[in-house]
């Protein structure tokens, strides 16, 4: 059945007769019918709405007719609803009109590009300040954790070591093995041009032990455990578990962040060390496959190339990289506010920031070693 609104004009009086079904499935046609008839009402002083021909009506139709009456009234004419033949429709329309809020429809605030830029700058100051605040809080928490060991959730430590270390080992090991292979291939193809393939083992050792090993391992850990820790913290924050810890007198930083950072600081050097060994295997595979160097010669050459500064210089970075991952991941998690969407956003931010932080710290160490002449 078609939905129409008939309009009978008699001088400055008009009678509107909606005909048909005013319900959700017919809402679009009803909207057109109502829009058409509104033009015919210009200059009226009284508008009557006769509901006798309204078929099925539900809340949607009632809202549309109620809005029509409101618009008519705000334009000047008074309105009257004739509902003696259809009291249900009258009641529904009256309900929605009665409940209509006086406040104008709230609109989302529109801001200019400049205003948004200013707001962003303003917020970034707060972000940096909160970040520094969090690091300061961690430093204090670490001291207090030593002074009061019971305020730290030590029982979580073995499980965290398992999650970050043992569970992360396969992917970290595979990544390091492949990077070792790549360095080996590159060394053979580039050094081979000068007939210097004999230096490939040393290249693998220096490049991987000092620079790439810690970096690759840290990036893998940042992606794996950083995301895990951030989403765990964020979910705890959203579900008020962090607030519950606070209310019970626990410092969430001491209780949660200290064991997580400690687990990272313990696990990442071990992962890096294992990764270093696998990178040597990768280099060995690449070199012996592409050149006539024997495995024995490669191993001997590698053994000669490994020196204290190269090996320890690489490992010395790893606790700092691990700490950066832990602080960024936990900090992002604890900064979560709101609901499920925010958890995802903070997790992404934690991974992006911790990978960037790891690369930045690694670069700073390289610079430092260069200045120190190591």
């Amino acid at each position: 059945m078609d939905v129409v609104v008939r309009a009978d004009r008699d001088g400055d009086r008009a009678r509107l007769t909606p005909v048909g079904q005013f319900d959700l499935p017919h809402a679009v046609t009803a909207a057109h019918a109502i829009a058409n008839v509104e033009r015919a009402l210009v200059g009226c002083r009284l508008v009557e709405l006769d509901l006798r021909s309204v078929g099925d009506i539900d809340g949607t139709g009632a809202v549309q007719l109620a809005s029509l009456l409101d618009r008519v009234e705000s334009a000047g004419p008074s309105t009257q609803v004739l509902d003696e033949h259809n009291p249900k429709a009258g009641r529904l329309i009256a309900l929605y009109r009665r409940r209509r809020s006086a406040s104008p429809l709230a609109q989302a605030e529109q801001r200019s590009v400049l205003a948004r830029l200013g707001l962003m700058a303003d917020r970034s100051i707060g972000t940096v300040r909160r970040g520094l605040d969090f690091i300061g809080h961690d430093a204090v928490a670490a001291q207090r954790a030593v002074a009061a060991p019971r305020s730290v959730d030590w029982r979580a430590l073995p499980q965290l070591l398992q999650q970050i270390g043992a569970d992360g080992l396969p992917v970290a090991a595979a990544a390091n093995l492949l990077v070792g292979l790549i360095i080996g291939f590159l060394g053979v193809s580039q050094l081979g041009r000068f007939g210097a393939t004999v230096y490939v083992p040393e290249l693998v050792v220096v490049a991987h032990f000092r620079e790439l090993g810690p970096l690759v391992t840290a990036i893998v850990v940042a992606g794996r455990s950083g995301a895990g820790l951030a989403s765990e913290m964020a979910t705890m924050k959203v579900s008020e578990e962090i607030d519950a810890l606070r209310a019970m007198g626990f410092d969430p930083v001491r209780w949660l962040v200290v064991p997580r950072c400690l687990a990272l600081v313990l696990a990442v050097p071990v992962l890096t060390w294992i990764g270093d060994v696998l990178a040597l295997v990768g280099g060995l595979i690449a070199t012996t496959a592409l050149t006539d160097m024997s495995a024995r010669a490669y191993v001997m050459s590698t053994a000669n190339a490994i020196s204290g500064p190269v090996f320890l210089g690489g490992l010395a970075k790893t606790p700092f990289l691990a700490l950066a991952i832990g602080l960024i991941a936990c900090g992002q998690g604890l900064a979560t506010q709101g609901g499920a969407a925010e958890v995802g956003g903070r997790t992404t931010a934690a991974v992006v920031l911790s990978i960037f932080g790891v690369i930045l710290i690694s670069s700073l160490f390289t610079l430092l070693y260069a200045v120190m002449g190591i």
Partner: protein, 252 residues
């Protein structure tokens, strides 16, 4: 469909997992346009029964018939009913207006200003007209529930399920919510099924009820809650309505 036909017919429903039976021989009707409550203590299976009624679980024995169309199956076209979940279950990343607009844009061809108009009318109906652009995280628990009701009503269902609507609300907000439920029932003629254990709310809104008990594994009483309170001979039911200790009736 003649109005005399019940809106929901549940016949000999059995609920459980594996060999564990949570309840059995559950049989009841919900009259069209009435307000029906499912009562019972914690762990009696009230909310589980609701999951079956709205089709989140499929019965292993017995039948559920909603609207003469058989057991509700999800993902089969426009939902025939609205559901208010315990916490409102609003999507946290969307404003209230976007939350309410979602079912309309999903299931109807309504777009643009008409969507805004209908959303605003529903928000006004539940008294949240001024909060259209707020995120769920920015409003209180009672407001979230009211917004949840508004969202459940967007597709104009003639049947609404409420899971513990007044749980966790202060008495004043709870009464406001009960008033809203009465309005929906009386002015809009919507059939309402409420899972609750809030006594004041039960006596205010319910036309009829069933009482579930985990020890009896099923319905222990049915009828008008006021009559049950005054006349029930069953100690558990009497205790439930008069808030006297249940320990005696369970022999604890």
């Amino acid at each position: 469909m003649p109005p005399s036909r019940p809106h929901i017919v549940v016949n000999d429903l059995r609920i459980g997992w594996g060999t564990r039976v949570l309840m059995e021989h559950v049989t009841f009707d919900v009259e069209r346009g009435s307000t029906f409550t499912i009562l019972g203590g914690s762990g009696s299976g009230k909310s589980t029964l609701l999951r079956y009624l709205i089709g989140l679980e499929q019965p292993r024995a017995g039948t559920i018939d909603v609207d003469g169309l058989g057991t509700p199956h999800l993902y089969q076209g426009v939902p025939r009913f609205g559901v208010l979940f315990q916490s409102g279950a609003l999507f946290g990343s969307m404003t209230l207006a976007e939350n309410l607009a979602l079912p309309l844009t999903m299931w109807t061809s309504i777009r643009g200003s008409l969507v805004r108009e209908l959303v605003q009318a529903k928000l006004d109906l539940v008294g949240l007209g001024a909060f259209a652009e707020h995120l769920p995280g920015q409003i209180s628990g009672g407001m979230k529930k009211r917004a949840g009701i508004a969202r459940a009503m967007m597709l104009e269902p003639d049947l609404l399920f409420f899971d513990e609507p007044s749980a966790g609300l202060d008495p004043i907000t709870a009464v406001e919510l009960d008033q809203l439920i009465l309005t929906l029932s009386r002015d809009l003629g919507i059939t309402i099924v409420i899972v609750t254990h809030e006594l004041p709310s039960i006596f205010l809104v319910a036309d009829s009820c069933i009482v579930l008990d985990k020890v009896a594994k099923g319905i222990v009483a049915r009828g008008d809650p006021r009559t049950l309170r005054d006349q029930s001979e069953i100690p558990f039911v009497h205790g439930f309505f008069t808030r006297s200790s249940l320990a005696a009736s369970h022999g604890v």
